[in-house]
Amino acid sequence: MALSYKKIEPLIISGKNIFSKWFGYFGLGIGVLLLLVSLQMFINIQQLLKENSPRKSGYDFISISKTITNENMGQDNRFTNADLINLKKQPGIDGAAPLISNQFRVKATAGDIVPFNTDLFLESIDNDFIDTLPPGFTWQPGQVMVPIILSSDFLEIYNVFAPAQGLPQLSAKTISSVNIILECSGPLGMQNFKGNIIALSDRINSLLVPKTFMNWSNLRFSGDTAVRASRVYIKTKDANDPKLISYLDQQNYHLNKDKVKFSRIKSILQNIVSALGVFGILVIMLALMLFSFYLQLMIAKSKDNLRLLLTLGYSPKWLAKSVAKTWLPVYLFIIIIALIITEAFHLWFLQFSFVSNANLSYFLHWSVWLTAILLLGLTVFINSRLVKKELNRIM
């Protein structure tokens, strides 16, 4: 027959000190809730902003240019090969690619659909740095059709001024049907090409053509093959790395902060929820401390009874285990309630979040469940250790 703890429980647990007991429970509940909610929100923000950030394969791509000041105005402020080599050597920079611009004149007309006529600039960059790279973004000498990747910001600007100019507004889909005639001319000759916008880029503010076309046409029309770029894109794991920012500032490089806004927003939001999580951990620690004071007080008050039970032959191990187990249902209840409230917060977040995202699950992330189980284990472990220690003290 298993020994029943019920018969000796009144000798150990008195009904006194209920204030510190309930305060401990309340604190533990708040702390667990804060920790679980902040963990779930951290994961939600991580998943939401992963979808919307300009990151590609875990990297940030930032555009830099040399800062134009009154002192260097009028000088050649383009990047040299040496600048590029130095950039690539920097820790925190995983790659750098110049935006090579045309060294000849380009005039664009859009035919009958969009009757406009303008001087244009073209640029090219390594394909690795392009966020939306369709398979057709290639060019070979002899090819009349030149694929173009247009900055989505440019399309937006065009749609703003188009009505005032009597031009039709274009959607992202219809833009691909506009045929642009590119008139390329330079000291060494001129030639017409057909430009076709095949993709829009959120990352690069430019009109991108394949690198093969840019190299070929620079040589063909101006005879210039030197790489001189006003802008360079750098590839980095963390656009908010203070060391990187400091290096760029030292070199007088201007950083396109707008492009890293998602990283910054994410970083700020994650810092907030992390702080909330740390606060949750602190509250849990305080609650456990408060509860341990209650336990110590309770054991001190029932010291004589416990000593007599040990004298009569009760096993100290069994006593410690039984006393510690008394609070297991309460802890379990607190953690289940915290999980339910966390789920409610999560559903509320999904319903009212500023970005709707179908990829977020309605259920709590597994790491939240794991944390809840670990917390339960931790509280039981701490209790049992404490009770054992106190029992050893009175023996």
Binding site: M1, L11, G313, Y314
Partner: protein, 213 residues
Amino acid sequence: MQIQLRNVVPDFIELEKRKNSNVWAQNIIIHKGEHLHIVAPSGSGKTSLIHFLYGLRTDYDGTIFYDDTDIKKLSTESFSSFRQHKISIIFQDLQLFDDLTAKENIEIKRILDPFHEPGVIEEMAKKLGIGTKLNQLVKTCSYGEKQRIAIIRSLMQPFDFLLLDEPYSHLDEVNRKRAMNLIYEECEKRNAAMVFVDLKPLDFLKGEKIIYL
């Protein structure tokens, strides 16, 4: 099981008392089934001896063995096993839970390793004249009633040794005899040894080995 005392001398005992003692600094073996009556005046260390044997105190030189085990080396956990199954005690100061009833006090010991069914508690209480006191809080009982509760509690478990520290000090002669008979009866059932300490030899004890401390 047997208990052996080898040159046991309490730290606090005076040299004079030690020299005249038949227990201190002697070699004594107590076998199962043996009845040992240790007699000594107040202040000679009777209660200390019982506490040494039960493992509650270790302020002595020499060694006490449970079989081959030096009890100073036993952990509290191991002691709890001996106290549940092998050795029982009636304390001089009784050591009862004042806020529990007489029956609850006895039951707390019985459930550890039940030698008797719960009904036996009533039978024994009736025999000792406290049948009506079982549901009364211990703190409201007289010292004599408490002594009888402590006696019944000590008989609820299996044991090879029963240690009795002046267990009848507050009982009249009729109740003393009743209690003594019950204890003899229970020791016989278990073929257990009895170590009984008191101020003077009791006239109704028979067949005991009397030792002067």
